[in-house]
């Protein structure tokens, strides 16, 4: 899976869970500061991403995923 494909997949999840406009989702964007994803919604994003990409994202890793790019890199490395 390419980084672009992972970004698109994350954008779909973010739209479903938090109502984020897919056009706003880019690797440089921060989940909390730019996309307004609160902590409870972030939990939902993580669980949905695990399911969608067939990866495991441990709780202690989530705090390191500040930007969409961080998440893409983590998922890319796992899959």
């Amino acid at each position: 899976m390419t980084r672009d494909e992972i970004t698109t997949g994350l954008a779909e999840i973010l739209e479903e869970v938090a109502g984020v406009n897919p056009d706003d989702v880019a690797e440089g964007k921060s989940f909390t500061d730019d996309l307004d994803v609160d902590s409870l919604s972030m939990v939902e994003v993580v669980v949905a991403a695990e399911e969608k990409f067939g990866v495991k994202i441990p709780d202690n890793e989530v705090q390191n995923l500040k930007t969409v790019g961080d998440a893409v890199s983590f998922i890319e490395a796992q899959s």
Binding site: V17, A18, G19, L40, S41, V43, E44, V47
Partner: protein
């Protein structure tokens, strides 16, 4: 110090009869039933396959993303509260949040969320359980949502007294304003538990009508053919306001909330007291608190749920505490029983009856009980002057609440 007068300046509701107060009231006056067959697959195995479901689904009103963080009972409480807030003209009034309180309860709470997330837990494990589960199922959730959206900072309260909840929440709002803790209280009740488990539970108590083949005829208070209540869902919210506060901003006033009476039976968990003793005391207290002449209370929106025992006990209580002159309505004959929202929705019907000078009809009263010695506006509305009216609400646990409303 003289006690401040409290008035009603806003109304909001979403019910089996309509998505707002106007459509609900029109349907009531037309004698329409909101009871329909449950066509969901899960209903097939149940002894009860009828209910009064919302006329307008919350998804038609609230944004999708917001809705997925709310239990249905929370969503409809918020919808009704927003209507009442706008109706009261408070949306851009600059009201200080520290003078605004909320008193909104539910009889059962976020049961649909609890059960749905339990299904997730069983099927997919704990990690899949939604992080929104707790705020969705907690019983103070509806009040908290309303307080959050309206900016209420003088306290958010959630009464729980089963089917008396909506009326008790309004009574608490009256107390809050009288005590000087707020100038405006958004008060009422909400309930959304049309789901197999609550239906099976009530059904096992033999409390529900099983007239599955005639949904519209199933809720029939005081009729000899009644066989239990019909479960309904919905929310009713009123804006209570200190009278001088309402006058100062030139607000439209629907009615005065003149008094409230609250008692408990200390008798049985689910059976009302055999002589209706707790109900009699609640009505008497409400009349005394309101300081209104009994002869002026010419209309009662009764609790009358269509159960064999409760309906007639209330008649006896009204005879004793109020007299033989009031004209009664059982609007549950049309809306079904909204449990924790019932007392709030029926308060709204009581207020509009006063405003419009009309007792709403009680449908399905084809063969009245011989003991029904008080007048009921059966089948058709009754137009008459209503200077004051009473609303009763009783709940499992032995809760009795009576509210007296008068013309402004």
């Amino acid at each position: 110090m003289s006690r401040p007068d409290v008035v009603v300046t806003g109304l909001g509701a979403t019910t089996p009869l309509g998505g707002d107060v106007a459509s609900t009231w029109d349907a009531m006056l037309a004698g329409r039933s909101g009871v329909t067959a449950l066509t969901q697959e899960w209903a097939e195995q149940l002894p009860v396959r009828i209910a009064a479901q919302l006329a307008v689904d919350p998804s038609e009103v609230l944004d999708r993303v917001k809705l997925r963080r709310m239990d249905r009972s929370e969503a409809i409480a918020l919808i009704a509260a927003q209507q009442a807030w706008a109706d009261a003209g408070l949306a851009d009034s600059g009201l200080d949040g520290e003078r605004l309180a909320v008193s909104v309860g539910s009889g059962i709470g976020g049961a649909i969320t609890l059960l749905a997330q339990d299904d997730v837990l069983e099927a997919s494990g704990p990690r899949r359980v939604s992080p929104h589960t707790i705020p969705m199922l907690m019983p103070n959730g509806p009040a908290a949502w309303v307080g959050l959206e309206l900016g209420a900072k003088a306290g958010v309260h959630s009464v729980a007294s089963a089917c008396a909840t909506g009326a008790e929440a309004i009574a608490l709002g009256l107390d809050i304003i009288r005590a000087g803790r707020a100038d405006v209280v958004v008060a009422g009740g909400t309930e959304a538990v049309i789901h197999p488990l609550p239906i099976a539970g009530f059904s096992s108590m033999r409390a529900m009508s099983t007239r599955n083949d005639e949904p519209e005829r199933a809720s029939r208070p005081w009729d000899t053919g009644r066989d239990g209540f019909v479960l309904g869902e919905g929310a009713g919210i009123v804006v209570l306001e200190r009278a001088d506060h309402a006058a100062a901003r030139g607000a439209r006033v629907y009615a005065r909330l003149a008094g409230a009476g609250i008692t408990s039976d200390a008798y049985d968990m689910v059976q009302p007291h055999a002589e209706g003793e707790g109900a009699i005391r609640a009505i008497a207290k409400a009349i005394a608190d309101a300081d209104v002449a009994k002869r002026d209370i010419v209309h009662v929106n009764a609790h009358a749920t269509s159960t064999p025992v409760g309906d007639m006990l209330e008649i006896g209580a009204l005879h004793k505490a109020l007299g033989d002159h009031p004209v009664l309505a059982a609007t549950k004959s049309m809306t079904g029983h909204l449990l924790g929202a019932a007392g709030a929705l029926e308060s709204i019907a009581t207020i509009l009856a006063i405003r419009d000078g009309v007792v709403p009809p009680t449908i399905n009263l084809d063969d009245p009980e011989p003991g029904l010695t008080l007048e009921v506006a059966a089948h058709k509305p009754r137009h008459m002057e209503i200077p004051a009216a009473l609303n009763n609400a009783f709940g499992f646990g032995g809760h009795n609440v009576a509210l007296v409303f008068t013309r402004p």
